[in-house]
């Protein structure tokens, strides 16, 4: 009969078209992709709470950030966002209502403070360069804070603020050589390391904007972060960092 034949023909064509379309779809989706860790793209920018997936470097250089945590953070607390408050300036305004006499006294005092610092800095350069501290009586040096030139790092912001730019530049030139994977200390004081070195790099970066200082701060931050790898994520304060 003509009608059923046409119906079957129509169904056949439709069926074939459907199969053809489905076939094309499946081959389109099965384009081979590289599997494994390399296909994991780092999560960047869009989600600030996402813990970035880190592909460890394989150049043989030890990096603290390559260590897998034993007690990883499950949900990251983000820096607070939302309405911030304008905080009034608390620093004294020296320029306003200052008599010439008062200015003279102020500048003399400023100079005295600067000279005192310059004396100390000269001693550091002469007797303890790239060490942690001068031993002021013996004229020697001590490595009491890990041996990464604590006085140098801690003084960067002071050098900048006092306008001792040549000394600042000379100190910064040494900063990139500091190796946070090595120290003679068995046990690190996380607090001292944070306030002197991390604080030192960050303050100097905030003042000067020199990228090497931020890079060094991040490198140190990666190391100190490992001290927080405990079951309750509280840091070890006297940290056996090599173990």
């Amino acid at each position: 009969m003509p009608l059923p034949t046409r119906r079957w023909l129509f169904a056949g064509v439709l069926g074939a078209a459907l199969v053809y379309t489905l076939f094309n779809f499946s081959t389109w989706r099965s384009i081979p992709t590289r599997t494994g860790l390399q296909s994991m793209k780092p999560i960047s920018g869009s989600n600030p709470l996402a813990i970035p997936s880190h592909r460890p470097s394989d150049d043989g250089v030890f990096r603290w950030k390559d260590l897998q945590p034993q007690y990883p953070v499950v949900s990251m607390k983000a820096l607070p966002s939302g309405r911030t408050v304008k905080i009034p300036k608390i620093q004294h305004d020296f320029k306003s209502k200052e008599t010439p006499e008062a200015k003279e006294v102020r500048e003399a005092r400023l100079q005295a403070v600067k000279e005192s610092f310059e004396h100390a800095w000269k001693g550091y350069k002469q007797h303890a360069w790239m060490k942690d501290e001068v031993s002021p009586i013996s004229g020697g040096y001590r490595d009491t804070f890990g041996g990464w030139a604590a006085t140098l790092v801690d003084s960067l912001d002071t050098l900048w603020i006092m306008g001792l730019r040549d000394d600042f530049d000379a100190a910064v030139a040494e900063v990139s050589k500091i190796d946070f994977s090595k120290s003679s200390e068995e046990e690190l004081n996380v607090f001292e390391t944070t306030i002197r070195y991390l604080g030192g790099f960050l303050a100097a970066y905030d003042l000067s904007g020199l990228r090497v200082l931020l890079d060094k701060a991040v490198e140190l931050g990666e190391m100190l972060y490992v001290a927080f790898d405990t079951p309750n994520r509280m840091p070890m304060t006297r940290w056996k960092w090599k173990e």
Binding site: I87, T194, L198, T230
Partner: protein, 130 residues
């Protein structure tokens, strides 16, 4: 062939990770900690997160701050925290010696400084702690 190579690379990377993790012993925070030491990391870590745009540093110290805030009125001198705290058990309220001097002072110093850094004078950290 491509897939075999990528699988091999992944396995190599895993092997390096495995070695690094195995080299470290499990660690635990101490039961006896000077409060100034555990309470004076927040300024630097907060700033590092702000500048590097990596939240993990702020996360690390915020957990400590949360404990301070939670236990501030449970100490033997409510409002202050003792000089020695137990980080292993997260007991910041057990001890009975208090000080605004050495081993304690910078904890309090950091409260307004971090508040300023975060520009959150109206946050729970700011108002409650003061």
């Amino acid at each position: 062939m491509l897939e075999f190579l990528s699988l091999f690379e992944s396995w190599q990377t895993l092997r390096i990770l495995h070695l690094s993790a195995a080299q470290r012993k499990p660690q635990e925070a101490e039961a006896w900690v000077l409060v100034a030491e555990i309470g004076s990391l927040s300024l630097e870590f907060t700033r590092l997160s702000q500048l590097s745009e990596d939240p993990k540093y702020f996360d690390a110290i915020q957990r400590i701050t949360d404990q301070f805030v939670l236990q501030q009125n449970k100490t033997k001198l409510p409002g202050m925290w003792p000089v020695v705290v137990n980080a292993k058990d997260m007991d910041f309220a057990g001890e009975n010696t208090f000080s605004l001097g050495a081993m304690s002072d910078s904890l309090y110093e950091y409260l307004p400084k971090v508040s300023y850094l975060l520009k959150l004078l109206t946050s729970s950290l700011g108002t409650k702690s003061f």
